[in-house]
């Protein structure tokens, strides 16, 4: 049994939680009556904190050696008083506790027996004698002292450090200074710090917009490159997605997936664009500066068109003309029917072109580049490619202009979005060359798509929320935010029926959002009201 007791004691030593959790402590407090404690207090108050605890310990000794030892461990070497002498003075302790190391766990029963006047088996503690408050105060005050000492040490260390700063020594500097940041440079971390949760100006609409994607598709190896255009949804309901060096076709109706092509070596696909009107021809821009034309019905390459010196990151169709924008900043118009396909070439930008869109009426070509410019090119007379001189060059954006979209219902209205340093969406009237509206999105704008059913547009964003935002046009009030992507939303595409928006994220997923669903109740409404009216009429007739 003795060894178990010893183990128990060791356990109790190991758990130094606090004065309250310890059972024996309270019993000690109860046992040592006020006369016993007060003298020790009066001396201890004069003493330093360490002695203070030792005096407490002495009185504690009478009952529980285990707790005394634990406090010894706390105080470290302060308790010099041999416990046994003390024990002899206070006769109350049973003689068992002579050897502290091997002593059993405190056994208050004998004490109890002597204290309680009638020898009943019930123990009633006399709380008036125990001075719990005082004891607890003493103990906890010592703890505080300990903390204070630590704090003082830290403070003195800090002072010491400050002193070493001013210790006699030389402060030297190299006189050829490093340059300051370039003029006009804005800390790119601005976006991190100014990113605030946008006040909920999200306008309530009667329309229900599902907050979760309808479907999530995997897009492994999709390039996380802001400057590319890797997704396009054809009018015949086939989605072309470029993943790394391959192009895949996803039939949205049947869910079938086909691989269209896979480039060799380290080449990657940089852009895809479907011909207008639901044809099966797909233009593919590659990193080797070529534009390939594919027939997706026969899975056959029709031709390769060159003309660039950098990767082709953007493509736009205008009937039989495919315009390509490349890293070299040039736009080349390819007439895909002709042998000499390059019908015109424009030195459009000084840096990579990342956004390129023909207006739905084919009158204007909009191009956005990494040089922060948005250029509008008018169509050449009698042709389907643009003039070599731009109509407007807008320099209001402060970052690369990638998100470009022409309004499908209002001619000459263009939405453009800027990159990380800009974060605005601007609406332009190209007929007049004016900036109709601007909104700060607080996040990089990666792409923009207009709805065909609603007077709304949706934009895909990067850091911090990687969300899609639906905006009401023309007020540009937020209608809804669709979150779910864990990395920036690089590309957006609208389904041919106009109900679904596909977003391609850098998190290698494609998400389908049914955010422009036509409200079935609204469509039925007219017929329903008619029916109701007729019913009412019936009623009146019956009466």
């Amino acid at each position: 049994m003795a060894q178990f007791n010893y183990l128990n004691e060791l356990n109790s030593l190991a758990t130094i939680d606090g004065p309250i959790t310890r059972g024996p402590l309270q019993r000690w407090a109860k046992k040592s009556n006020s006369e016993n404690i007060n003298p020790s207090l009066s001396t201890s108050l004069k003493n330093t904190s360490n002695l203070n605890i030792s005096s407490c310990n002495q009185s504690m000794q009478k009952l529980s050696i285990s707790s005394n030892q634990s406090y010894n461990a706390n105080v470290l070497s302060s308790n010099k008083t041999p416990p046994r002498n003390e024990n002899k003075k206070g006769k109350k302790t049973p003689s068992k506790n002579k050897s502290p190391g091997r002593s059993t766990t405190p056994t208050p029963t004998p004490n109890k027996a002597t204290k309680t006047p009638n020898k009943a088996d019930r123990f009633i503690p006399s709380r008036s004698n125990s001075n719990f408050d005082l004891c607890h105060y003493m103990l906890s005050r010592d703890d505080d002292k300990g903390e204070e000492i630590v704090a003082q040490k830290a403070a003195s260390e800090a002072i010491g450090r400050a002193l070493t700063d001013t210790e006699p020594g030389r402060l030297l500097q190299y006189t050829c200074k490093a340059p300051a940041a370039p003029e006009g440079y804005q800390n790119r971390l601005r976006v991190v710090y100014s990113q605030a949760k946008v006040p909920s100006s999200v306008k309530n609409t009667t329309r229900y917009i599902p907050q979760a994607p309808d479907r999530i598709l995997d897009a492994p190896d999709i390039l996380d490159d802001y400057y590319l255009n890797l997704v396009d949804w054809s009018a015949s309901n086939i989605l072309a997605v470029a993943l790394g060096n391959s192009v895949y076709l996803w039939n949205a109706g049947t869910g079938q997936i086909e691989q269209l092509l896979s480039l060799e070596g380290s080449e990657t696909v940089c852009s895809v664009a479907w011909v207008q009107g639901g044809g099966s021809h797909l233009a593919v821009g590659t990193s080797s500066a070529t534009v390939e034309l594919w027939d997706c019905e026969r899975i056959k390459r029709l031709r390769i068109m060159d003309g660039h010196s950098g990767r082709v990151g953007s493509l736009a169709w205008n009937l039989y003309v495919v315009s390509s924008g490349a890293r070299d900043g040039a736009i080349v118009h390819h007439d895909v029917r002709q042998r000499d396909h390059a019908v015109a070439s424009l030195a459009a930008h000084t840096q990579e072109i990342c956004g390129l869109k023909w207006s739905p009426d084919g009158k204007y070509l909009a191009s956005g580049g990494n040089d922060n410019l948005l250029n509008i090119w008018p169509i050449a007379q009698g042709q389907h490619y643009s003039q070599p001189q731009y109509l407007y060059s807008f320099n209001q954006h402060l970052a690369a202009v990638k998100g470009l979209a022409w309004c499908p219902w209002s001619s000459g209205v263009l939405a453009s979005g800027g990159g990380t340093a800009d974060r605005t969406i601007r609406i332009w009237n190209v007929n007049t060359g004016t900036n109709i509206n601007t909104v700060d999105t607080n996040s990089q704008v990666c792409s923009i798509v207009w709805s065909t059913h609603y007077r709304e547009l949706v934009s895909g964003h990067g850091y911090a929320q990687n969300q899609l935002v639906i905006w009401k046009y023309p007020a540009l009030a937020r209608v809804a935010e669709l979150t779910g992507h864990v990395a920036r939303v690089l590309h957006l595409a609208l389904s041919p029926d106009g109900t679904t928006v596909l977003s391609a994220g850098a998190d290698e997923t494609l998400r389908l959002w049914k955010c422009f669903m036509l409200d079935p109740s609204k469509k039925k409404e007219p017929t329903d009201t008619k029916a109701a009216k007729s019913l009412l009429n019936m009623n009146t007739l019956i009466r």
């Binding site: 402060l171 300051a180 940041a181 440079y185 800390n187």
Partner: protein, 207 residues
Amino acid sequence: MSQQQTKNCITLRGSAQIICEYLKFAMNAVLFQRGLYPPETFKTAQQYGINLFLSDDPQIKDFLKNLLTQSEEWILNKKVSKLSLIILNVANKEVLECWDFNVQYEEGDVELSKEKNDTVGSKDLKKIQQEIRDVMLQVAATISYLPFLDCRCSFDVLVHAKTDCDIPEKWAEAEPVAITNAQNIQLKSFSTSLHKMETVVSFKLVD
């Protein structure tokens, strides 16, 4: 002898080189992480098992190179106690942030030093690099709590040297700097067993 061969041995010069290499990467990391210079002027480099950014700006490169070759000499001769990288507002020269790199000199491996008649350490290089990597990761993490530097900034390095230290050409004495309402944060420290490097960042607390 064979035992000695297997035992890792860092000379004083080698240790000073490790320290200066750390200073180079740490200072570049500060310049990059705090957004002092455009990110496109940095290039990545593999070091300590992580990708770190080094400025590609010739002037900055030159500045740091000159600074660190001189500092290495000083560290070798135990002349330097601290290097402070201070970040200044270009417009009003106000000090916004101060990165202190405290150098402490340690004994090294005494037994091995006696054997070799030279002060050497015997700490495993892998262990040192691991420790440095931990510090670098902490430096990268500082952007989460350091205030945004919303102005055009420049930086300078002040060397806290001993009084008996000569001032070489192109060097000059500097005035001590102070940050008003400063808050200090100590990052992890590492040691090569000959030098101990403490990294402390102080910044202006904006309320």
